[in-house]
Subunit: 314 residues, 2 copies
Amino acid sequence: MRVLVFGLGALGSVFAAFLKKAGHDVFAVGRPRVVEAVKKGGLKVSGLWGEHGVKLEKVYPSVEGLPEREFDLVILTVKSYDTERALEELKKVSFRYLMLAQNGYGNYERAVEVFGPEKVILSRVIFGARLVSPGEAEVTVSADDVVIGSPAGAIDGKFLEELARLLSEAGIPTRHEPAVYKYLWDKILYNSALNALGALLETNYGTLARLEETRELMDRVIEEIFAVAEAKGIELFHRSADEYKRLFYEKLLPPTAEHYPSTYWDLMAGKRTEVDALNGAIVRLGREAGVPTPVNEVITNLLKAKEKLKLPQG
Amino acid sequence: MRVLVFGLGALGSVFAAFLKKAGHDVFAVGRPRVVEAVKKGGLKVSGLWGEHGVKLEKVYPSVEGLPEREFDLVILTVKSYDTERALEELKKVSFRYLMLAQNGYGNYERAVEVFGPEKVILSRVIFGARLVSPGEAEVTVSADDVVIGSPAGAIDGKFLEELARLLSEAGIPTRHEPAVYKYLWDKILYNSALNALGALLETNYGTLARLEETRELMDRVIEEIFAVAEAKGIELFHRSADEYKRLFYEKLLPPTAEHYPSTYWDLMAGKRTEVDALNGAIVRLGREAGVPTPVNEVITNLLKAKEKLKLPQG
């Protein structure tokens, strides 16, 4: 399979390394600094799934440099705030399928607008990886298989099963689920409740659950998401906000109590966050549906302000 | 005049020192550590109103220790979160008048419930003072006279004029204004817009006005206060939220752009804040009146959570 990995952050590095190692014809596009490092030292993956090192020569700072422009599969691994720019770039290549390995709401919807539902595969990635240095990723945690699917039901199930098998064989446990969109929204729920609040208050998940003030805010974030989802016809796994809250506080949160959200680490490193694809997306969807989302709105505004204050000047 | 100053923080130290210096019979109640320091070294005031040092022997860690229990005037200078406890203590003494020198909503209302409107004088204090060390205060800024009055109209205007003259002669510029409640609310407006947000984002007033996200939040805080005030029949100096916002951004805020809110300094020092008498009071009044105040609510919750995280353990 000829694959283009677009974005060589932690996640992109893992996909590129494992697919290359499995014998696929892998191309990658990344930031110049990363491209330099990978050309020199290859890709390294450590952590949960073992130690791996592969050479990757076909790595470029932009699609313009690609010697091939036709791919079986493009895997998009950029952060949500870079999706628009990435899709614009990807108009310059041709591909059979584009698989999104991103967080939050809006990436799939936008990709479908640009390339059509029959080309776009959504994935819910729930393993965690961090970039140790350019080209060097560590897999830190894996909560479940990668789940792939076509929310629009526009891609043959057989092919999706086949792609899941191929990714699993390459070392990234993956399964096909027609309900992939529900899986994505489950992650949106979890991240919207915890990430921005943890980053604002610079604290961990357990503390957010322990303080009555933040617990009340998380309750309200979750309730607003359920109201928005219902108004927009978005199906969730859970019948009610109360049902999800029980699951959230009793089962999902406790094992990660010590965890600080990725949004916190991003802010502290002076990086942009994905709040616009999480709480910010809830606000936008709420406006479209006429559903008030004041708690998500205030949290989004505060986090975006904090982001501006923490970003390196200029 | 026999005066009891209840609370020997920065503000109480200034009142006690200036009244003592002017020849009044001043008693004071403060924390044990402060009482020790004042007994030893007296009270010192520096800054805007000159350098002053006075001896103050009649200073006690509680009302129980007071050799006299009858006062012409009690000046209450504790933080809002200590009001309830202070009023309870003050039931043990008798006084002609109780003058509140505090911030925010709820202190006057509560004091009137306990002692009756004919005994309680409200003041709007808008000079700033900080405690350099126990017994040693610095007057840092003064925006206007202290304004005193009886919101209930239950105290003779002649006496209030006389008290204002006496305080002014002692060195604390003061005037009587029947509209003192509007003055207090003007300060509540200003502080509610700026203090909690500045403390949450750890930034100054100018930055809060410059970032569109925080500006939007301040607009909403102000709008919610106007809606609550209207529903509760609280009169403000300004006809509309828009009128106040213009004044706020164009006139009031620019001269203090570099200023970090007292709430920020309190938090950083691990102290409690007065958010419950500012944004938190708006939320309570909103609930009573059936007026939604989601922005003040989220901000209050976040600040109270941050306060808990910053307070010294135990």
